[in-house]
Symmetry: C2
DNA sequence: CAAAAATATGAAAATATGTTCAGGTAAACG
DNA sequence: CGTTTACCTGAACATATTTTCATATTTTTG
C-alpha cells in the first residue's frame, strides 16, 4: 500500500489509477478497455437483484402461465397483498412485468421473453 | 381478513390454505400446480442475487476475456483485494467461477457458458 | 526452515432489503 | 354521491449484505 507502482510491461492508453499491486498489467488494461459503461452494470445489477428473491421468482413463474391480479398472486405466494404489491413495484421498475386495468382489477403479465430465457438458463445452471 | 372463504369455482386438488381473498381460484390452483420445488427457487434466487451487484458483474465480464488473478481483478475494479476475495467466494459458491492454482497465484475463470448467456440476455433487456 | 507473497477468512460497522402495519387512491356499483 | 373493492404507498422494524481491518493459510524462495 506504500504507493507501489504497477509492474507495467505494456501500453496503458487508459488512465493508470492503479495504486495497488498488479501482476498482469496487460490483462488489466484489456479488461478495462473491454468493460461496459457503468450505467449498464448498474442496470443489469438492478435486473438480476430483482430476480434474486424466491418470492419474486415465484411471481414470475406464475405469470408465465398467464396474467394474474394482485390478490391471486398473494394467494399463490401465501403472503400479504401489500408484500406482493411492493415486490410488483420492483418488477415493474425493472420492466419485468407490466399491467392492464380491467375495472377494479389490475392484471399483471410478463413484459417480454427475456424473463423466460433468464429463468430457463438459471434453472439449467442450478440443476447441473 | 375475517376468515373469508375463497370464491372457489373449480377443483382444488391441492391443500387450500388460501386464507386471503381470492378472485380467480382456477389460476391460483394452476399456478400452484405449475410451481417449482422450493429449493429451485432458492437456488435460482441465490444465483441471480450473486449476479445482482455491479462489481461482481464487472468481475464476470473481465473473466470473459480470460482468467485473472485476485489482485488483477482488484486493480480492474479499483477496490481492495479483500473485497474482491469476498465477492469471488460468492461467485464460487454459486458455481459462476472456478479457479486454478499456479504457484502462489490463483487464476479465476468463468465456470460455464450460462454466465455468458445470462449477461447477454440481461444486456438485451436493459438496452431496449 | 524462516521470510515473503498471494489469497482467504472472521468480526464489526455501514448500508440495503423485505415484511408488516396503517393509512391512502382509483374505479365500480348501488 | 357515498360506499365498497382492489391496489398502492410510507414508515418502522428485522434481517441480510458489503466493505474494511486484522489475522490466518498456503506456496514459493533464499
Amino acid at each position: 500500500m506504500g504507493g507501489n507502482d504497477i509492474s507495467n510491461g505494456s501500453t496503458m492508453d487508459d488512465q493508470d489509477l492503479c495504486s495497488v499491486r498488479c501482476i498482469h498489467a496487460d490483462r488489466i488494461a484489456a479488461a478495462r478497455a473491454g468493460g461496459l459503461p457503468a450505467e449498464e452494470y448498474e442496470a443489469m445489477a438492478a435486473l438480476f437483484k430483482t430476480m434474486g428473491d424466491p418470492n419474486r421468482l415465484r411471481i414470475l413463474r406464475a405469470l408465465h402461465d398467464g396474467e394474474m391480479c394482485v390478490c391471486d398472486l398473494a394467494a399463490v405466494l401465501e403472503c400479504s397483498e401489500s408484500a406482493v404489491s411492493h415486490q410488483l413495484r420492483q418488477l415493474r421498475q425493472t420492466a419485468l412485468v407490466a399491467n392492464r386495468r380491467q375495472g377494479q382489477v389490475l392484471y399483471y403479465r410478463l413484459n417480454d421473453d427475456h424473463v423466460h430465457t433468464l429463468i430457463h438458463v438459471a434453472l439449467e445452471h442450478v440443476r447441473e
